[in-house]
């Protein structure tokens, strides 16, 4: 039997894997296309339909919680006159952090020529896009009157008013808007050659035309590839500062205030690393079910997971350093409010959450010092989820601790989330999963043309 008719798994059995383990040692271009595109042209499986149905319930839940919020106002939340930033802000920071990893993988790993990026960048970018879009919703809901959100934009109005340029919230608006626009453009650019592949492989006229329109007449000529590559690399170079800017600005949302615990100059880089950390954890969490559900084990291998686990380990170390720097800065500042806040973090009513966060973010990734855990699906998945939980705890604790324990002891207060806080958070998950499942059925979850390029570089295809 010739190699062209074998599946990726059979190719591994026959030829073994390439030296860095990223794919079968022999992998014809056609097989790559077939392996990735199979999930799209297959009839939807029962599992997929169930998952889409369940996540759609989440979307409905999200819709209902937004509707109730708009009718009743922010009073349905646990926020009060002291702890004014609750779940909405924490969810925003968490989701936008997750949204950082896709662009990191796409741009930084592309520019640093990390080959293993090719198989995972597509769904990581999709994850980025959906996470950033969901993140964009939360600040609008947080302000309570989203229909006035256009006030943040500088437009020529009859009030002759401009936004307050000194406010980080305005920087935030620009950072999110730029980031979402960039993510869409970059994701779509990477898709064009694959859309053309799908156009050519599709059987029905409707599917052909639908993919054809978005393929923008791509025919794979050398001239197109040349233009494409210069454009794609230029975009990637533009993306790197954006990844850094977006979460730096989120950090400045906090650091530009005068509250204890939000004062350290380390905040912007600390937030950027935290974002990449949580984003990578989410990619790991998503990779394990995806490669199984779409049958991509021959293309997304344990070596990919190994590489991501190392990044998680690095992230965990830097996060632990950042936490200890916070404690040091609190002590070193000599301020009573700062010192008392540190004690409150450890031993206050939210203390148990803080210890949990330290365990999830600092301790759990330390497992990845051992190769056995970096290549074990179960430990990878568990640590991925733990880091996501830990990073979410960090986002909510940074709001609750500081605002509940500010400068004035007379205004010390306590924040307890309500059922609507939880339902909205749950609903945002539903929306994320719903979009992601639709994506996996309509668009190649891995980048066909980049894996072909990888196969060429690895010598697996000629």
């Amino acid at each position: 039997m010739s190699d062209a008719t074998l599946t990726g798994r059979e190719l591994i059995a026959n030829h073994g894997r390439t030296r860095d383990g990223l794919m079968p040692a022999e992998m014809p271009y056609g097989t790559i296309t077939d392996e990735v595109a199979a999930a799209i042209f297959r009839k939807p499986s029962r599992l997929w339909l169930v998952l889409v149905g369940v996540s759609f319930l989440g979307v409905i839940l999200f819709g209902i919680s937004i509707l109730v919020l708009l009718v009743e106002g922010t009073g349905i939340w646990g926020v009060n006159s002291e702890v004014v930033w609750g779940f909405a802000v924490a969810n925003y920071v968490w989701w936008i952090g997750i949204g950082n990893a896709g662009t990191l993988i796409s741009c930084m790993l592309l520019l640093t020529r990390q080959r293993w990026r090719a198989s995972i960048n597509r769904y990581a970018e999709a994850m980025t896009l959906f996470a950033a879009a969901i993140a964009g919703i939360f600040p609008l809901l947080h302000v309570g009157r989203p229909w006035l959100a256009y006030w943040l934009a500088p437009y020529p109005n009859t009030m002759t008013l401009w936004p307050q340029w000194r406010s980080p919230l305005v920087w935030d608006m620009f950072a999110i808007a730029c980031y979402i626009l960039f993510s869409i453009l970059f994701w779509y650019t990477g898709l064009i050659p694959d859309l053309a592949t799908l156009r050519d492989k599709a059987k029905h006229r409707f599917t052909k035309v639908a993919y054809g329109i978005f393929a923008l007449g791509w025919n794979g000529s050398s001239r197109q590839w040349k233009n494409y590559n210069s454009y794609y690399y230029a975009m990637a170079a533009l993306g790197v500062p954006l990844v850094v800017s977006i979460h730096s600005v989120v950090g400045l949302d906090y650091a530009a205030t005068l509250m204890p615990g939000w004062q350290e100059t380390i905040f912007p880089p600390y937030f950027v690393v935290g974002a990449m950390f949580s984003g990578f954890a989410m990619v790991v969490t998503l990779t394990i079910p995806i490669r199984w559900a779409l049958g991509l084990q021959s293309i997304i291998t344990l070596d990919h997971l190994d590489a991501m686990a190392k990044i998680l380990l690095l992230g965990g170390i830097i996060m632990s350093f950042s936490y200890s720097f916070e404690w040091f800065a609190g002590w070193y500042s000599g301020g009573e409010a700062e010192r008392s806040l540190i004690a409150f973090q450890f031993f206050g009513p939210y203390g148990w959450l803080y210890w949990m966060m330290l365990a999830c973010n600092g301790l759990a990734p330390q497992l990845f010092w051992w190769r056995r855990f970096r290549r074990g699906l179960v430990p990878l998945f568990i640590v991925g989820v733990l880091v996501n939980v830990g990073m979410w705890l960090e986002r909510i604790l940074i709001n609750m601790n500081t605002l509940a324990h500010g400068h004035l002891p007379s205004t010390f207060s306590f924040y307890v989330p309500t059922i609507w806080d939880w339902l909205m958070f749950l609903g945002s998950f539903g929306l994320f999963c719903f979009l992601f499942f639709l994506f996996a059925k309509v668009i190649p979850a891995a980048s066909i043309h980049e894996i072909r390029e990888l196969a060429h570089k690895e010598g697996a295809a000629r």
């Binding site: 109005n157 052909k208 035309v209």
Partner: protein, 218 residues
Amino acid sequence: MAQLFSARADLFLRLGLLALVVLPLTMAVSGFAYYRSSYYTGVGAYVQQPVPFSHRHHAGELGIDCRYCHTQVEKAAFAGLPPTETCMTCHSQIWTNAEMLAPIRASLATNTPIRWNRVHDLADYVYFDHSVHVTNGVGCSSCHGDVADMPLMAKAEPLTMGWCLDCHRDPAKNLRPESEIYNTAWEKPADQRRKGRALLAHYGIRKDHLTDCSVCHR
């Protein structure tokens, strides 16, 4: 393989992309124009009243002072609308049977005030004080136009926040001497710049805080 798209498909795609730019731009420009036009601000549109009271006749031709009817303008935030009795100071003697004035007589007989329709209606979150303006060199006509030449009342200015701020940022260009406050036909002299600066000093106006939010939004 047969061609998927006709030769014209490319044209439609390009037109679509063009529309993606042109349509939002057109909407933005139209919106910009609409919110500044009298369709939206209502400048120059006469408002129907229960009695067709003519400011041109009373304030212009007869020369009745603004303060004869709008009695509180120098003392209070609201300039005041005259009670029916003010109308009757004259109309109990002249035009006593005029058809046009029937609602006024009915109002007096039944002791129910006339419901005039507002022409200059600011949003509820705006604090506006007439007295502080007329006692500091801002004349009636700066905001209300040449009322003595209006047969029925209409807005002369858009009363948008930008329009208010235009003067609050630089009041000197509109200030007039105390003697001219109630002269609705007043026009700026050629050397308004210089006179305006002198008037700032005369009225003791400090510009620094005139554009603070809390000046108008309390």
